[in-house]
């Protein structure tokens, strides 16, 4: 077997094990919360008899290990359980929310990742000169301002003053793609501004690091221009660190955008999770937790695999 396949298989197996460990933590963590689901459903005034009945009905008297595997087994089959607060199937309500979150994250990533890398390359090309300093200053400013603040400022200027896009990002399935994009335009801008600096600066640092190498001098002494050297000789060797930071930011776009969702009333997963945390709806919290963990682990796994594939020593062993 090619050694690289072995390495990748190892990573995938590690990722699965990590996910398994995360599921135990999530399940165990929610078990530690005071009170139980029966108490939650019936409220403070429930009689001991009705609590006992409810517990029996929900299977809460089974040992925790058995309940864990039941939960995990259901999860693997797509059965995420029922929400306590409204009695609806979690998989159904969560599916739509997840789709919306991924939709927003996708468009934010589509704009921010290439832009960040391009700005990073530009900053390297004009290192320590005005364009570099300007790019750094602007991106560092936008990452330093709280995202709700950027959100409100953009709503005021772009939506209200100029009247370009909608200030509320409510979307539903009956809308066309154009309408949807119009609705999410401002949240996408906010998210882009928030994740840009991190990726841009990592691109800049990774490429500057590579630019110290002797083979960059070789390229210069071949008479190549700076931009060509950066793109052809430096970038391929800087892929691994860049992909890593890109993936962390993509994970953030999926998992961490709750503030932006609230500001724009966007029907995404973050808002859904926060709502149900407030209502102490444990099965929903567990389901969301596991999905977020899977997204994080999955994206970092991709980053690892890309790093492995980008290394010629691993791709082409002696």
């Amino acid at each position: 077997m090619h050694p690289i396949l072995k390495l990748i298989a190892q990573r995938v197996a590690l990722g699965l094990m990590l996910l398994f460990a995360a599921s135990i933590l999530i399940f165990g963590g929610t078990m530690l919360l005071p009170g139980d689901v029966a108490q939650q459903i019936l409220g403070q005034s429930a009689t001991p008899e009705s609590l006992a009945n409810m517990r029996a009905e929900l299977g809460l008297n089974d040992p925790p290990v058995a309940r864990y595997f039941q939960w995990l087994g259901g999860f693997l089959q797509g059965d995420l359980g029922t929400a306590l607060t409204n009695g609806r199937d979690i998989a159904e309500s969560l599916g739509g929310r997840l789709k919306n979150t991924l939709f927003l994250a996708f468009w934010a990533a589509l704009i921010s990742v290439p832009l960040a890398i391009f700005l990073g390359l530009l900053a390297v090309r004009y290192k320590d000169r005005i364009p570099d300093k300007l790019i750094s200053a602007v991106t560092l400013t936008t990452i330093s301002i709280p995202e709700f603040m950027i959100g409100y400022v953009l709503i005021y200027w772009v939506s209200i003053q100029m009247g370009w896009f909608s200030s509320v990002a409510i979307i539903n399935d009956s809308m066309s793609l154009g309408q949807k994009l119009n609705a999410i335009a401002i949240p996408v801008m906010v998210l882009t501004l928030v994740v840009l600096a991190h990726m841009m600066r990592m691109t800049r640092a990774a490429i500057l690091n590579v630019m110290q190498s002797a083979y960059i001098e070789t390229a210069e002494l071949k008479g190549m221009g700076m931009l060509k050297i950066i793109a052809k000789h430096a970038f391929p060797n800087a892929i691994a660190p860049i992909v890593n930071v890109v993936m962390i930011n993509l994970a953030y776009l999926v998992v961490g955008v709750v503030v932006v969702e609230v500001v724009f009333a966007y029907p995404g997963m973050g808002q859904y999770l926060v709502d149900h945390v407030a209502k102490r709806d444990v099965p929903v919290v567990q389901a969301c937790g596991l999905i977020f963990a899977a997204v994080y682990i999955g994206l970092n796994l991709i980053a690892d695999i890309v790093s492995i594939l980008a290394n010629p020593r691993l791709r082409h062993p002696k």
Binding site: A214, Y215, T218, A219, L221, K222, G223, M224, P236, N237
Partner: protein, 550 residues
């Protein structure tokens, strides 16, 4: 009118001045001049050797022929004419046409100068293609022809490999092919064989020489090794601290040097060292050592046995990968051997470092190749040398200061060095401080691991003389690890030649260096460049004859 009236030399350098910005510790960065007005001409098809020690400005001058300054280096004055044009006055666009087209470059470390992410062929042909000299197809055909001429194995397919898939010597040939591929008028060779083992160096040197001759290209050949440059160049220019010392034909520089500095360079490595006879009881006895690194499946050392006698020097000679540094790790206890034993001063040493007594540790000290990285840059020389005095002898205050000064006197560094930081010392001075630190422990044995390899020849000579002097005074033994046979001749009493983890030849110096030789020692000895014209041809002709004879 288009015919030039006067025939211009290919490269004409006049009054070349080069400056750099330096960042001394504790001072403001400031500009200094590192090349102070150098003039020379180079005709087409000729080879000029630039020789000097580090800091002489030879690489800087070589790169100036491509209008390039490395790092903070800037060309501050003078003229550099290539094919009649002053390239220092040309715009960036013209300079880029020159680089990789008319003038190309071969660096010291091909391993670092090839992009690890791209195939060799792509990199070798890159300049030729985008400078518009050849089409992709033509360039690749030319590259294959060059690979063949440079003696690379499987020239048709070697270009399809990545740099890490070929050996160091092969990569250096690929770098030469890279430089020759665009059919340049001038190639700057910057120490192209310095990083190679001697037995590899001779082949690469021969390949480069043949390629220069066959393609009729002119070359600037930069090296610190006069014996090497004597083999390839027509003229030699000797540089010292950014100024020309002497210029002449190779024959004149080697056989009739005029300047004192050149004479010193020519006669370097002429230390005569009388071999001492072995005593009855060796200080160090290494018996049947076999060792491997954890997680690997082959032995780096195979059944190695050597003796070292008190007050004497045992040289361990071998090329990279021969296991000589591993032997040092085993003796110091850093790598416990899988078999064999080490006896030191009559007692058996524990194979593992943590279980050795403080006395064992004190009596066995090390000096390393890179004095730079062997010292804490944030500690003064006094602190560095004082540390073992405190640690082993509990010296404090005045007693410690006195001892530090004694040690500094012994290594021939005067007053005022106690308070200096390593960054303020030259390479030779740093290595001297490392020697003093080892001596401070009053050891019986010092392991010297390639201690002169990173130093210029004259400085290295000084270090060797110092080590010999200290051996006389302190009666200390040296285990001297080196790849350099000239150093061995200068310092050793007995020699062990290592190849692939085995000792292939071992005995007193006079025996090891006298015929009849085994094949490997013969190859090793005959590969060391000699300071005479035509040495390379002689050796190659001799080898050809021998292999024909077999």
């Amino acid at each position: 009118m288009s015919e030039p009236l006067l025939k211009q030399p290919l490269l004409q350098v006049r009054g070349l001045k080069i400056g750099a910005t330096v960042y001394p510790p504790g001072e403001r960065p400031h500009a200094i001049e590192i090349v102070h007005g150098v003039d020379f001409d180079l005709e087409g098809g000729k080879v000029l050797g630039l020789i000097g020690e580090s800091g002489a400005g030879k690489s800087t001058i070589g790169l100036a022929a491509m209008a390039y300054g490395r790092g903070g280096v800037e060309i501050t004055g003078g003229e550099v004419h290539v094919n009649g044009r002053d390239i220092l006055q040309s715009g960036l666009r013209d300079v880029r046409k020159l680089r990789g087209g008319e003038v190309t470059y071969v660096s010291q470390s091909a391993a670092a100068s090839f992009n690890p992410a791209k195939k060799i062929m792509e990199q070798v042909t890159e300049a030729a293609i985008f400078q518009g000299k050849f089409s992709k197809k033509e360039a690749e055909a030319r590259a294959v022809a060059l690979f063949d001429k440079l003696g690379l194995p499987d020239p048709e397919n070697i270009g399809e490999r990545y740099p890490h898939q070929v050996s160091g010597g092969q990569l250096q040939r690929c770098m030469t092919a890279l430089a020759l591929c665009p059919e340049p008028d001038l190639v700057v060779f910057d120490e192209p064989t310095t990083a190679l083992d001697v037995t590899t160096q001779i082949d690469v040197l021969a390949a480069i020489k043949e390629a220069i001759r066959d393609t009729g290209v002119a070359a600037l050949y930069i090296t610190h090794d006069l014996a090497v440059v004597a083999q390839v160049s027509d003229h030699i220019m000797v540089l010292q601290q950014g100024a020309m010392v002497e210029y002449g034909t190779t024959d004149q520089i080697i056989n009739n040097p005029q300047e004192e500095y050149t004479q010193a360079l020519v006669s370097v490595r002429s230390i005569a060292h009388e071999e001492k006879t072995p005593t009855d009881t060796p200080l160090l006895r290494v018996e049947n050592i076999t060792a491997r690194y954890r997680g690997t499946d082959f032995d780096v050392l195979k059944d190695v046995s050597v003796d070292l006698h008190p007050g004497q020097t045992l040289a361990i000679v071998g090329e990279s990968g021969s296991g000589k540094s591993t032997l040092a790790r085993v003796i110091t206890g850093l790598l416990p051997p899988s078999q064999g034993s080490i006896t030191f001063d009559g007692r058996t040493l524990s194979p593992d470092l943590p279980t050795r007594s403080p006395e064992d540790l004190r009596e066995l000290q090390m000096i390393y190749q890179m004095a730079d990285t062997a010292m804490n840059p944030r500690q003064t020389v006094g602190t560095i040398i004082g540390r073992p005095l405190e640690f082993y002898f509990g010296l404090k205050g005045k007693a410690k200061q006195t001892r530090i000064q004694e040690l500094l006197d012994e290594i021939e560094l005067g007053d005022g060095f106690q308070d200096r930081y390593p960054a303020e010392l030259s390479g030779g001075q740093k290595q001297r401080v490392c020697i003093a630190r080892a001596l401070a422990a009053k050891p019986k044995l010092i392991i010297c691991d390639e201690v002169t390899s990173a130093l210029d020849p004259l400085v290295a000579d000084g270090i060797l003389k110092l080590l010999l002097k200290l051996q006389k005074i302190e009666d200390v033994s040296y285990l001297f690890i080196t790849h350099d046979l000239a150093t061995v001749k200068a310092i050793a009493d007995s020699i062990a030649v290592m190849l692939q983890g085995k000792v292939v030849r071992y005995g007193p110096k006079s025996q090891v260096l006298a015929p009849p030789f085994d094949d490997y020692t013969d190859l090793l000895l005959s590969s060391v460049p000699e300071m005479k014209l035509g040495w390379l041809e002689e050796v190659l002709a001799h080898r050809k004859m021998e292999s024909a004879g077999n």
